[in-house]
C-alpha cells in the first residue's frame, strides 16, 4: 500500500463527514441576532488600549502612570475626545451606501420628452438634470449613488453615457452597435459589465468609467447573453448566462480572483428555444444561491410553463419555489427585495388564453408559501413587456408596462397601487447610506 507523507485518508474522511453532518446553511435565527446587534452599542475605539499599545504593555500593570500629574493628562484626554468626535462626524457625513442590501431612498431619476429628470420623492416636483442631442433614456444610478449611467440615442445609434449624479461631468463609455445589449454597474461603481454586439456576435467586457480600455471576458466555447449579475456580498464574481455551440444554455461564474470561468451545469431542454432557459438569474443577498427562470413541462397538466427555481452557487440543490396553483399562469423574472426576504416576480397568462394579462406578485424568499398578487393587471399577456424594480428601502415596487406605456408605484405589503402621471418609463431610485 502506498502512503503519501502527511496524507491520512482517515483525516480526510473526518473533514468530509463534518461537511455532511452539518449541512451548513444560513441559520433562521440570524435576523433575530442582527436585530439585537443593531440595538447594541459598539465600544468606542479609544477604549481598546491594545490598539496603540503592544499587548504586553496593555496587559501590564500601569505602574508607569503613578508619577504622572493628573490635570494635564485629563486635558489631553478631553482634547483627544473632541478631535475623535469631530473625525467621527466627518466620516459619518461621507458615508456611501453598500452596493447590496437595504439603503435609504434618494433621488428618483426618469426620462421625459427625451431628457432626464430627477425628483426627491414620488410626490415631489421634478427638475431637469440632463439634456442633449437625440434622446436620453434608461437612467441608472451607480450602486454608491454618485454616478448616473444612461443611454443617449443619436440617429438611431445608442451611446452608453455616464455623468455625476448632479448631471455634471458627462462622458461617453461605449458606442453600441445594433442589437441586444446590456450593461450592469459593478458593485464598486468604478466599472460596468457590458454585453454588446461585435461583428454580429455578443461580447462581454468590463468597461472602466475612467476611460481606460475595456477588459474582454471569454466564456470558453459559450457566447454571453445579456443576463448579468454581480455576486453579493463582495461583488467581485460575475454571473453570466451563456449559450453553447449546441444551443444549450447554462450559467457561468467569472471569478473576480482571475481563476477559470466555470459553468453551473444546469439542464437546458430548449422547450421555448434558447432565449428563456435558465434566464433571469439573481443572487440571494448572501451570495450563496441563485434564483432564476426554469422552463419545464408541468407533469400534472402537461403544460410547458415558466417557474422560478433556486439553486446553490455551485449548481447543486436546485429546487422550484412554490409556483401558481394554476398551471396556465406563468411565473418568472425574480427580483429580491433589498432586505433579501421577499422575491418580486412577473406573472402572466398567454394571449391565446382570453387575451392574456400580465402582473406582478411577491413571495417569501425562503419558499415557505406561494406568491401574492399585487398591483394592476395589464392586458396583453406575454406582450405586456413588464419591467419592475424595488425602492432601496424596500417599501415600494415600481413597475412599467411597455404595451400601455404606463408606470406604477405599488405597495408590496397591501398590493395597493397608483399610476405615475409624470413618467411612462421605469424610474430608477438612488441608493443612499442609512
Amino acid at each position: 500500500m502506498t502512503a503519501f507523507p502527511g496524507f491520512d485518508p482517515f483525516e480526510r474522511r473526518i473533514s468530509e463527514a463534518f461537511e455532511e453532518i452539518t449541512d451548513a446553511r444560513r441559520p433562521d435565527y440570524l435576523d433575530d441576532i442582527l436585530q439585537l446587534t443593531a440595538r447594541t452599542s459598539q465600544r468606542p475605539r479609544w477604549t481598546f488600549p491594545e490598539r496603540w499599545l503592544p499587548v504586553d504593555l496593555a496587559t501590564r500593570r500601569p505602574t508607569a502612570l503613578m508619577g504622572v500629574r493628573l490635570r494635564p493628562m485629563l486635558l489631553f484626554i478631553a482634547l483627544a475626545l473632541v478631535l475623535a468626535a469631530l473625525a467621527a462626524s466627518y466620516v459619518g457625513s461621507q458615508r456611501t451606501p453598500l452596493p447590496f442590501g437595504l439603503a435609504r431612498n434618494g433621488l428618483i431619476a426618469y426620462p421625459k420628452d427625451g431628457a432626464l429628470y430627477v425628483r426627491n420623492a414620488l410626490d415631489a416636483d421634478g427638475h431637469l438634470i440632463l439634456r442633449g442631442e437625440g434622446t436620453l433614456s434608461s437612467p441608472y444610478f451607480s450602486p454608491d449613488g454618485k454616478l448616473l449611467g444612461y443611454v443617449q440615442t443619436i440617429a438611431g445609434v445608442d451611446h452608453l453615457m455616464v455623468a455625476n449624479a448632479d448631471g455634471s461631468n458627462v462622458r461617453e463609455l461605449l458606442k453600441m452597435p445594433v442589437g441586444d445589449w446590456n450593461a450592469v454597474w459593478r458593485p464598486d461603481s468604478r466599472a460596468l459589465a457590458a454585453v454588446v454586439q461585435a461583428n454580429l456576435s455578443p461580447r462581454l467586457s468590463i468597461v472602466p468609467i475612467d476611460g481606460s480600455a475595456p477588459t474582454p471576458i471569454e466564456l470558453g466555447s459559450a457566447v454571453p447573453t445579456t443576463d448579468l449579475a454581480w455576486r453579493p456580498p463582495a461583488g467581485e464574481d460575475l454571473l453570466v448566462r451563456g449559450r453553447r455551440d449546441d444551443r444549450t444554455v447554462d450559467m457561468f461564474i467569472v471569478p473576480g480572483d482571475g481563476s477559470p470561468v466555470h459553468a453551473l451545469g444546469l439542464p437546458s431542454e430548449l422547450l421555448f428555444g434558447t432565449d428563456w432557459d435558465n434566464s433571469g438569474p439573481v443572487w440571494t443577498l448572501d451570495g450563496a444561491r441563485i434564483a432564476y427562470n426554469r422552463v419545464a413541462i408541468d407533469p400534472a397538466s402537461g403544460i410547458t410553463n415558466f417557474r422560478v427555481h433556486i439553486v446553490n452557487a455551485d449548481g447543486t440543490g436546485d429546487q422550484a419555489l412554490p409556483g401558481p396553483a394554476d398551471p396556465k399562469v406563468m411565473e418568472a423574472w425574480p427580483a429580491f427585495s433589498p432586505d433579501g426576504r421577499t422575491i418580486l416576480v412577473h406573472r402572466w397568462t398567454w394571449k391565446s388564453n382570453n387575451g392574456g394579462e400580465g402582473w406582478v406578485a411577491v413571495l417569501p424568499a425562503d419558499g415557505s408559501g406561494p406568491a401574492r398578487d399585487i398591483g394592476p393587471r395589464i392586458p396583453g399577456g406575454e406582450d405586456t413587456g413588464l419591467i419592475k424594480t424595488w425602492s432601496p428601502d424596500g417599501t415600494r415596487v415600481l413597475m412599467r408596462s411597455d404595451n400601455t406605456r404606463e408606470a406604477f408605484s405599488i405597495d408590496p405589503m397591501t398590493g395597493a397601487y397608483e399610476r405615475l402621471d409624470w413618467t411612462s418609463d421605469l424610474p430608477d431610485w438612488q441608493r443612499v447610506a442609512r
Binding site: 473526518i14 463527514a17 463534518f18 443593531a38 459598539q42 453598500l98 452596493p99 448572501d286 451570495g287
Partner: protein
Amino acid sequence: MSGRELVERAQRGDHDAFAVLATAASARLDAAARLILRDRELARDAVQNALVRAWRDLPGLRDPDRFDAWLHRLLVNACLDEARRRRRRPAEVEMLSTAMFSTAGEVHHLADRDLVERALGRLEPENRALVVLHYYLGYAVPDAAASLGISLPAAKSRLHRALAAMRHALTSEFTPTAEPEGGRIS
C-alpha cells in the same frame, strides 16, 4: 466591495456592513457551533454571543484582514462558555433516514457519517473545539492553538489524542455486515 472594506465600515459603526459580514459567516459559525456543542439551542446561544461580542468589540480589531479568524475565536470561546455553563443535554444533531438513500454506497457513507458524529461526541468540548477548528474550519494547528489560547505542543498532543480516540471509536463501532448469501442485489 472587498471584505476588508466591509470590516472597516463595520468598525466605524456601519451596521449594514456588519450584517453582510455576519450573513456571509453565519452558516459556518452555526455549523461549527453545532459540531462543538452537539445541541442546536446551545449552538444558537453561542453564535448569538459571538456575534454580539463581535459587533460590540469590532472597533478594537487591529487588523481587518483577520476578521474571520477573530470571529471564529470568539465563537469557539462562546461555545466553551456554553459547554461549561449548561448542564449536558442529549445531542440533537439531526440524522437523515436511511430510507432516503437508494444505493448501498450511500448507506455505507451515511453509516460513516453517523460514526464520525458519535466519535466526535465522545471527546471533551475543548478537544472537540480543536478538532473542529482544524478539520472543519481548516485552521493550521498553530492557528488553532492560538485561537484556543494553548501552546503549540499542547495543541499537537491534544489533537493526536483526539484523533486516536476517534479512530478507536470508529474501528470498535464499525463492523461491516456480511454480504447476503447468493450474491449482491442488482
